[in-house]
Structure formats: C-alpha cells, structure tokens
Amino acid sequence: MKTRVIIFFGLLVLIAAIFISACKKNDVQPGEPHNPTYIDLTIPAGWPTPTSDIFANNKLTEEGFQLGKKLFYDGKLSKDGNFPCASCHQQFAAFATFDHDFSHGFDNSFTTRNAPGLFNLAWMTKMHWDGGINHIEVQPLAPITAQNEMAETIDNVLNKLRADTEYPALFKSAFGNTDINSQRMLKALAQFMGSIISSNSKYDKVQRGEASFTATEQNGYDLFKAKCETCHKEPLFTDNSFRNTGLAVNPFLNDFGRMRITNDKNDSLKFKVPSLRNVMLTFPYAHDGRFYSIGAAIDHYRTGIITTQPTLDPLLVNRIAITNTQKNDLIYFLNTLTDTTMTKAARFAQ
C-alpha cells in the first residue's frame, strides 16, 4: 500500500511539474539549440543556506560565469577604459582595493567609501555600506554610472559590447542568442561575483579538522567568540546588520550611512557590519578607511568609541575591554581568516 502511495505521489509531482514548466515563458528562440553547462554553487559544509537564492532566476552556467568574468575585468564598462570593476576589486586583496582608504575613479576622482571585498555574496542580503542595493544583479549599475567611479552610461557600455568582436558570441553561448542587453550583462556579472566563495582559510581548515590553531591563535579565537562574535557572526563573520560603532563623523563626507536609505533618524551613522574574512588583506578599515592598521581598528573598540552618539550600538556603550596581550592574540587569530586559495584561484583571475 505504501509503495502505491509513493508511486501515486510521484506521478502527481511529475504531472504538476509538466504543467508548471509548460506555463513558463521560454527565453530561447525556437530553432536555436542552447545547451549551456549548468553548474552548482557549492555551499561549504556546515554553512547556513544562503539567505537569498541569487541564482534562482539566473541559472548558474559555465558560459554565464565566464562571460561575467570577462565583463568584470573589462575596461569597456567604464567611460575612458581605465576602470574595470577589477580596478577597485583586486583579487589579491580579496577583491577590495589594496592599501587605499578610497579608490580612484574617472578623471582623478576619489570614491567616498572604502571598497569592500567581494566574496560569499550569496549570503549577503544587501550591498553597499548603507545597504542601499537590494540585489546583486543591480549592484553594478551603481559603480558603472557613478561620476567618481566608472562614469559611463549603461547605453554606451552595451553599444561597446555589441560592437566588440567577441561579446556577441559569448552572450549567445551564455543566453542562447547574440542579444546584448542590460539584464543579460547584469546577470552574467552576478554569476561571476556570486560564485566567489572564501572558505579555505586556516580557520576553515581548523573547523574541518585539517589543521590546528597555535596557542596564541586559539587564545585570540576564544577572545573573538567572547567579544566580537555577536556582530561578526561565524562562519561568514558578519550578521549582515547595520550598526553605529561610535565613529566621529568625517566633516569632508558627512556620511550618515543607512539613514540616507531609510530616512529614519534611528539609522543615523549605521553602517553594514563587514565580514572579517580576509581582514588582513582588506585594510584600511571602516566605511571611510580611516583605520590603516588592524591594531588601530581594534583600538577604536577599546578606547575610541564615542559613547554619546544616540544611535550607538547598545553592545558598545561600555566600549570593549581588551588587554594588550589579548589584542595581540586577536590579531594572530584574524590572520587565520586569510584565504589564499580564493585570492590565488585561477578561476577568478583575469
């Protein structure tokens, strides 16, 4: 009896699936065979399910990934050809800008915030320090069109790609025909960026039982779990929240963070909690890169927090008590978060 129920149930699923797929619109034009190589995003063992399925409406394929990679490294996406995405997002710096508080943009301009590293984006619910971008696919529109970044129009970018000798064929292999439009360009970029996963640092190897911490690193990890873990939640080392960490307002920028997006004064001076993965490569720190060393960033939490700001995170009202020895241990632990497998992976390289 049980078997019959299972067979019956299976048949119903099959019928439903046929009906449902019959109702879906097919993007590919008839008569054009399109057989891309579908690939899966591998979720590291023990990690949570990604909060947003960024590939739900953007099936990850090898062809889409490769097209996205080419676009990511192509200066054509910028006005004068000098500023591909990769100019500010350098692989060796975990896709942040190495050793720069602000990145350089078109016509000798500066950006107004520190470029974040790009990895584990499938777990990121909102992009930008203020969370203004709600989907990875629409993220590239911001830097491409910003006058102090790539300074180009989407229309011009698409025309350059259409006139190129290689792109029409690459769009065809990724999407079924040679049409080049903004949606396809953005989906391809999302396939590349969303595939960058950082999960092979020493920390990860320790978690998997393939390595062990030194005594100093272990002390640092214990301290981390006691004093940092709430916001920089493992295994992603961020809880994706927005918090005010008591930084003085930079008078040149007057950047009040998330309040600009929500228009809510309770969000004044709140910025996204950045992941601490690869933190030794992503210096300088904070939304405006004001801390040039990891030691300076830790010192801010020990002694620098302005405790009078009304929106200061409740966890920081007493600052964080960390002794000099503990600080040293902590830095040793943070060094274990560097993932050279990702920063040297040929798959993500130009």
């Binding site: 009896m1 129920v5 019956f8 149930f9 119903l12 699923v13 019928i15 439903a16 009906f19 449902i20 019959a22 109702c23 960024i54 409406n57 953007n58 930008h128 203004g132 971008i133 709600n134 989907h135 990875i136 696919e137 629409v138 529109l141 911001a142 069109t145 910003a146 989407i154 229309d155 698409l158 439009n181 903004s182 949606q183 953005l186 989906k187 999302a190 600009r260 997006i261 929500t262 228009n263």
Partner: protein, 252 residues
C-alpha cells in the same frame, strides 16, 4: 487511503491552477482591451518643453519630461480578474507608449484597476528588462528601486540651479511607499463589453495639475526638487493618485 489520495489530487490541481493563473485558456474566447492615455494639464493636452503652465499658487512652469509606470492592469468582473503581469512605462515624449493592449475573456466588465508604479516584488528581484530596463532612466542605482513617476521642468519660482523642477517619485516599502492601487467603477451599463476578436477601447486622461494639490498643497517655491523616497515623495503620490479619469469607452 482514498481520502488522502483525493486530498493530494486537490492539492496538486490547485498548485497547477495557481501556476497557470496568468495564462488564459486557449479555449476561452477573448477580445482586446486597448487603453489610450492622454496626458493633460488642467484639461488641455500636455505639450512638452514649449507649453507654459501656471499652478493654483500662481507659479509658472514648463514640463520637459513626464513619465510614469502602470502595472497590474486588469478589467474585472466577478469572478474574472484578467490579471495582466506586464509593466507599462507611459512617456509623454514617446507617443507609442501612450496606448497599450491586452487580451481579456469575452464578458462585460464594470471595473478597471491598475497600480501606479511597479509592484514591490519587482523592485527587489534583480535585473529586469523591457519597460523595467534600467536604461529607461527610471531606476535608482544608489538605493535600489524604481522611480514610479517622474516630472522634470523649469519654473521661475524654483530657487535651485537653472530654476529646475525635478520630481522623481519612488519608494516601495514602509510608510513612505508611493505605490498606489487605483480603480474605476464603470457606471455606464454598457460597461467594457469585450466581444470575441474585437477591441474595447478605454480613453483616459492623466492630468498633471493634480500633482500640486488635492491632499497636500505643494508649491514649487517650497519643494522644487524631490529625488529620494520619503515624506515629500509620498505626499506628491497622495496628490497624483487622482490624476486619472476615464473620458470614453468604445466597444467595437
């Protein structure tokens, strides 16, 4: 056991029906609903750039851009709701955008409904195409979401650079959402009478003058520029929700 099977069948049939909701069965006889929009100012056809207008506060202005989204357009009659999942960008500078058509099952309808703007789901679903392509200059790159309605122009009463007037009205979430469902009940007994293979044409006016008052009195001198979601954008949308009127329905 039979009962469980029946339950499963019901579950799956309803799943199948939900998934196919948008499609009209090929066996249903259908006709076409065509909606034609005329953008106006105080009842006169809107003329971009050269038209000189005065609002009820005596402020003079012209209009260089006027565009807005309509979505979820449907004609309804119990139990049919011809939900139309398409998005329309009405752009005064593009005459072809001022009318659009969709199919509806043969019946007589006494209601027309639509959403002014782009429903919230599409504001958080990544890269879109067609009317929703960011190329249409109706998408904010710094704060993801669509500009639901846009007016640009100039006014001597505007204190900002080049006397600009710019209203980019958007925001799809929370208390300052500008999304507006709007509907007409059609009192003419003839209604929207869709016949097989025929067209029923609905003519609507959209009067820009409504943007200045109605719920909130909004002077150019006080608010020449609104380009972020927030209270002001919401107030303008509270005014413009009443810009539409049906001027005629022709059933062919």
């Amino acid at each position: 056991m039979m009962k469980i099977n029946t339950l499963l069948v019901c579950c799956f049939l309803s799943l199948v029906m939900i998934s196919c909701q948008k499609a009209i069965s090929p066996n249903t006889a259908t006709g076409t609903v065509k909606i034609t929009i005329r953008n106006t100012v105080k009842g006169n056809p809107m003329v971009l750039n050269t038209g000189n207008y005065t609002n009820s506060f005596g402020e003079q202005y012209n209009i260089t851009k006027f565009k807005y989204y309509l979505s979820n357009v449907s004609v309804t009659t119990t139990p049919i709701n011809t939900f139309n999942g398409r998005y329309y960008l009405i752009d005064q500078s593009n005459p072809a955008s001022l009318s659009f058509s969709f199919e509806a099952p043969v019946d007589t309808y006494y209601s027309l409904k639509f959403l002014i703007g782009v429903d919230s789901a599409r504001n958080v679903s990544g890269a879109q195409t067609g009317a929703l392509d960011p190329l249409n200059d109706m998408f904010w790159t710094w704060n993801s979401g669509y500009i639901m309605a846009k007016m640009e122009g100039n006014s001597p009463q505007s204190p900002v650079v080049n006397n600009k007037v710019e209203y980019h009205i958007g925001g799809f979430a929370g208390t300052n959402s500008v999304l507006k469902n709007y509907g007409f009940i059609i009192t003419d007994p003839a209604g929207i009478n869709i016949r097989e293979g025929k067209i029923s044409e609905i003519f609507m006016d959209a009067d820009f003058d409504t943007w200045w008052q109605g719920v909130f009195n909004l002077k150019i001198a006080d608010n020449p520029v609104v380009t972020t979601p927030g209270v002001l954008a919401k107030s303008i949308s509270d005014n413009y929700v009443s810009m539409f009127s049906i001027t005629d329905i022709k059933n062919y």
